[in-house]
C-alpha cells in the first residue's frame, strides 16, 4: 500500500481540501500530453497491479481508468460482477480480500451501494479509488469536470448549474463539493421530485425552471435522466421532461451570455439535451472524456506515492 499526499484512498471530494483538489488538477496537466503522443506510455506505475472492480455496468469510466493505468504502465485486471464470484453470492469484503491475497496495489471500484467504496477501503490495505458508489460520489468525474471548466475559465466565481436528476446522481454530489471548495457558485435545477431534500443547505441555489437557470449560469452540467425514473413516478414522461427541462438550442439562444455545456454521459439525446447543443460549439462533452484519462492518471500517480513536483519529469521519455 502506498500513501501519497492524498492519503490511502480517493473516496469522494467532500473530504478533500481545496489544496488537494488543485494538486490533482495541476498534476493532471502534464499527463494530458502523454495521451497525445504516438507512443502513449510512461513507466511510472511499472510493476503496480491494479484491479478494476465493476459491480455495475460502465463503459466510459472503466475504459478511461484502464487507459490511464496502461498509459502509466501498470498491470491491470478487470473484474465485472456478471460472471464473477459475486453472482455466486460472495460478499464484497470477501471478493476484495481474495483479490488482495493475490498481492495487488490498488482497487478501482464501481458499486451500486452508497458508501461501498468507504466500506472496502476500511477493510483492505490496498489503495481504493471510488469509480462511483451508488448515489454518493463519483470523484474522478467531479475532477474531470473541474479540469474541463478550468481549461476554459477560472473556476472561482464561475456560476455552474447542475441540471436534472440530482437526487440520484453521484456526479452531482462530487461536482457540488469540488466546485464549492474551489470558489464557484453552484446551483441545481430540476423538478422538485428529482432534487434531494435539504440540498440548499449544502450551499447551492435551487432553480425549478430551466429558463431561470440558463439566465443565471455560466456553465451547465446536464445530467442523464434514467428511464427508470419514469417508472418510479418521479417524472411523467421523457417527452414532457424535454419540453419543460430540456437544454435546447432555443433556450440557450435566449441566454444573456454564452454557456459552456458539460454532460457526464451517456447522453439521452432529445430527453435532457438537444443534439444541436450536445454537438454545438459550446459543448465540451468530448473534452471531458479526454480530460478523464489525464485526471485518472494524476489520481493513480498521486495515490501510488508519486511526487506532484515530479509529475512533469515522471512523464519523461516514452517507454521503449
Amino acid at each position: 500500500m502506498s500513501r501519497g499526499q492524498l492519503g490511502k484512498d480517493l473516496l469522494g471530494l467532500e473530504h478533500l481540501s481545496a489544496d488537494d483538489l488543485r494538486l490533482i488538477l495541476d498534476t493532471a496537466e502534464p499527463f494530458k500530453e502523454i495521451s497525445e503522443r504516438a507512443i502513449k506510455k510512461v513507466p511510472v506505475l511499472r510493476g503496480k497491479t491494479i484491479v478494476n472492480l465493476f459491480f455495475e455496468p460502465s463503459t466510459r469510466t472503466r475504459i478511461s481508468f484502464e487507459f490511464a493505468e496502461k498509459r502509466l504502465s501498470a498491470d491491470t485486471v478487470n473484474v465485472a460482477s456478471a460472471g464473477s464470484s459475486v453472482v455466486k453470492g460472495e460478499t464484497l469484503v470477501d471478493t476484495a480480500r481474495n483479490l488482495e491475497a493475490m498481492r495487488i496495489d490498488m482497487v478501482v471500484m464501481r458499486h451500486g451501494s452508497s458508501g461501498a467504496a468507504k466500506f472496502l477501503a476500511e477493510r483492505i490495505e490496498s489503495n481504493v479509488i471510488n469509480a462511483g458508489d451508488g448515489k454518493h460520489e463519483h470523484p474522478t468525474q467531479g475532477l474531470l469536470d473541474l479540469l474541463t471548466i478550468r481549461d476554459h475559465r477560472p473556476i472561482a466565481g464561475t456560476k455552474v448549474c447542475i441540471v436534472g436528476d440530482v437526487l440520484h446522481s453521484r456526479v452531482a454530489r462530487s461536482n457540488i463539493w469540488g466546485l464549492l471548495k474551489l470558489g464557484a457558485e453552484v446551483a441545481v435545477c430540476g423538478p422538485q421530485t428529482l432534487l434531494p431534500l435539504g440540498i440548499g443547505e449544502l450551499g447551492v441555489k435551487v432553480f425549478r425552471r430551466i429558463e431561470e437557470a440558463i439566465e443565471w449560469a455560466d456553465v451547465l452540467n446536464v445530467l442523464r435522466l434514467q428511464l427508470e425514473r419514469m417508472q418510479a413516478g418521479y417524472v411523467p414522461s421523457t417527452r414532457e421532461y424535454y419540453r419543460v427541462f430540456g437544454v435546447t438550442l432555443e433556450r440557450l439562444e435566449r441566454a444573456p451570455r454564452e454557456l459552456l455545456i458539460l454532460h457526464p454521459g451517456p447522453m439521452n439525446r432529445g430527453v435532457e439535451i438537444d443534439s444541436r447543443v450536445a454537438d454545438g460549439p459550446h459543448s465540451v462533452i468530448l473534452n471531458q472524456v479526454t480530460n478523464g484519462v489525464a485526471v485518472r492518471m494524476a489520481v493513480l500517480y498521486l495515490l501510488a506515492g508519486g511526487k506532484p513536483e515530479l509529475a512533469e519529469s515522471a512523464k519523461g521519455a516514452p517507454e521503449r
Binding site: 451500486g112 458508501g115 466500506f119 451508488g134 453521484r170 434531494p196 431534500l197 440540498i199 449544502l202
Partner: protein
C-alpha cells in the same frame, strides 16, 4: 425457595407512591413486606446500600428471533440478556419464522420461556395471519394461550380497514393493538432518515411523514372505535404532537420510544455505520428534543428497546444491504440514566415509571410494582457505577449496538424474577 431480604436501598415504586430508603422482603415468589428494619430468619440478604430497588423493568418490544433465527437469538438468550439489563418481563414480537399468528405458536414461546427460567416472556400475537395484512388472526385463541397484545410489527397494520377491525375486535379481549407506524409507499427503498445527512451520503431517505401519516390514521381509528392503540417506537416530533392532542381529548392511545431514538440522531449514520441503521430511522435533534419532552410530560408513556438482534455478517455489509435494527436490552438502563437522568429529562422515579410501571399497565401485566402481594420481580441497580459498553460481553447472541465504546452509568446488581435471582453483577454468559 429461600426468602430474600433486600436491605438499605432506595426503594422506588411509582405505583404505590413510594420513594424511601427501606427494606424489601421477598417470600414464596411475592413481595411480602416493604418497610424499615425488616428481618427474616434464613433469608439471603442483599446489601443494596447506594442502590435503587425498583420493580423489574418491563419491555413491551423485543424481537427474540425464535423460532426461525436461533443463530442470532433464542428465547433463552434473549430472556437472559433481558435479566442482565434489569428487565423481568419482555413482550416478544410475532415476526418470527413462522409468524406467531396462532395459539400453538404462542404456546411454544410460553413453554420455551418457562424452560429458560430467566426474565418472563409474554408473546405478542400477530394482527393478521402471516402478518400479511389480510385476514385477522384469532385474537381469542392467541390471548387464551398467553398473548398479551397483537401487532404486525416489522411492518404496519396494512390498511385502515384492517386497523379498524383489529381495534374493534381487540375490545373483547382487553388487549392493545400495537402498530409499527410506517407508510411503506413513502419509505420504500429508504435506508435512513431523509434529511441533509441522507442527501450527503446519497442514501435513500425515509421521511418523517412516513410515520406521521400512519400515526394520524391510527389515532383517528382509535377515536372511532374506542379501541386501545399502542404506537411502537415513535421517532418524530410530529408523532409526539399528535399523540399529545389525542390524549388531551381522551383517545385511548399510548406510545413508546426507544433508548436509541432518545439518544442519537441521523448524524450517527454519517460514516455509513450499519449499527446506526434501524427502522424507524434515527431522526434529527428537534425530534430527539420532542421525544424527550414527550416522555417527560407523559405524552410518551414508556421506554421500549425494540431489541433486534442481527448476525455479524448481516451488519458487515454495504449500508443499503444491511438489515434494520439494533440490540438494546443490555444498554437501555445505562443509556436512560446517562442521557435522560443526567440530562435532566426525567428524575429516577419518572424513569422507573417509564421502564416498569407504565409498560406493565399498558399490557395489563401483573408486574411493575413492589406493593405487597405483587410478584417478586425486582431490579437492584447502582445508579452511580460507570461502565463502558463492550458488545463482546453481552448475554445476547448478537452484538449489533450503536453504543459500543460508550461510557454509561448505571449497573444492574441483581435481577429477581418470582423471588429467584436470575442475574447477579459479575455473571458471565454460559460457554464464555
Amino acid at each position: 425457595m429461600k426468602p430474600i431480604l433486600i436491605r438499605g436501598g432506595r426503594v422506588i415504586d411509582p405505583a404505590s407512591g413510594l420513594d424511601a430508603t427501606v427494606d424489601v422482603l421477598l417470600l414464596d415468589g411475592k413481595v411480602t413486606a416493604v418497610g424499615a428494619n425488616l428481618a427474616r430468619e434464613g433469608a439471603e440478604v442483599l446489601d443494596a446500600a447506594g442502590c435503587v430497588v425498583a420493580p423489574g423493568f418491563v419491555d413491551l418490544h423485543v424481537h427474540l428471533r425464535e423460532p426461525g433465527r436461533e443463530d442470532v437469538e433464542t428465547i433463552a438468550t434473549g430472556a437472559r440478556a433481558a435479566a442482565a439489563g434489569g428487565f423481568t418481563s419482555v413482550c416478544a414480537m410475532p415476526n418470527t419464522d413462522p409468524v406467531t399468528d396462532n395459539q400453538a405458536a404462542v404456546g411454544f414461546i410460553v413453554s420455551q420461556a418457562r424452560r429458560a427460567g430467566s426474565a418472563r416472556v409474554y408473546p405478542i400475537g400477530a394482527v393478521s395471519l402471516g402478518q400479511k395484512g389480510e385476514q385477522l388472526a384469532e385474537f381469542g385463541e392467541l390471548v387464551g394461550a398467553g398473548a398479551v397484545a397483537v401487532s404486525d410489527d416489522g411492518r404496519p397494520v396494512a390498511t385502515a380497514h384492517l386497523m379498524r377491525t383489529a381495534l374493534e375486535y381487540a375490545l373483547s379481549f382487553g388487549i392493545p393493538v400495537i402498530d409499527h407506524c410506517e407508510d411503506v409507499s413513502l419509505s420504500a427503498g429508504g435506508a435512513m432518515h431523509e434529511g441533509l445527512v441522507s442527501t450527503r451520503l446519497g442514501l435513500k431517505g425515509i421521511p418523517r411523514s412516513s410515520e406521521d401519516v400512519i400515526v394520524a390514521r391510527d389515532i383517528q381509528l382509535a377515536e372511532l372505535t374506542g379501541g386501545h392503540v399502542h404506537l411502537a417506537h415513535c421517532s418524530t416530533a410530529g408523532a409526539v404532537a399528535m399523540i399529545r392532542t389525542a390524549k388531551a381529548r381522551g383517545v385511548r392511545v399510548t406510545a413508546e420510544v426507544t433508548p436509541h431514538h432518545l439518544a442519537l440522531t441521523d448524524a450517527a449514520c454519517a460514516e455509513y455505520d450499519t449499527h446506526a441503521k434501524m427502522n424507524p430511522p434515527l431522526r434529527e435533534a428537534p425530534d430527539v428534543a420532542a421525544l424527550r419532552a414527550g416522555l417527560a410530560d407523559g405524552t410518551i408513556d414508556c421506554i421500549a428497546t425494540d431489541h433486534a438482534p442481527h448476525h455479524y455478517d448481516a451488519k458487515e455489509q454495504e449500508f443499503d444491504n444491511a438489515p434494520f435494527g439494533v440490540v438494546g436490552l443490555e444498554t437501555a438502563l445505562g443509556v436512560a440514566l446517562t442521557e435522560l437522568v443526567d440530562g435532566k429529562v426525567l428524575d429516577l422515579p419518572a424513569l422507573v415509571r417509564c421502564l416498569a410501571t407504565r409498560p406493565a399497565e399498558i399490557a395489563h401485566l401483573t408486574a411493575g410494582t413492589l406493593a405487597p402481594g405483587a410478584p417478586a420481580d425486582v431490579v437492584v441497580f447502582d445508579p452511580a457505577a460507570r461502565w463502558t459498553v463492550e458488545p463482546a460481553r453481552f448475554f445476547s447472541k448478537s452484538r449489533n449496538t450503536p453504543f459500543a465504546g460508550r461510557a454509561l452509568r448505571g449497573v444492574v446488581r441483581w435481577t429477581i424474577v418470582g423471588g429467584a435471582i436470575v442475574h447477579r453483577l459479575g455473571d458471565v454468559p454460559a460457554g464464555r
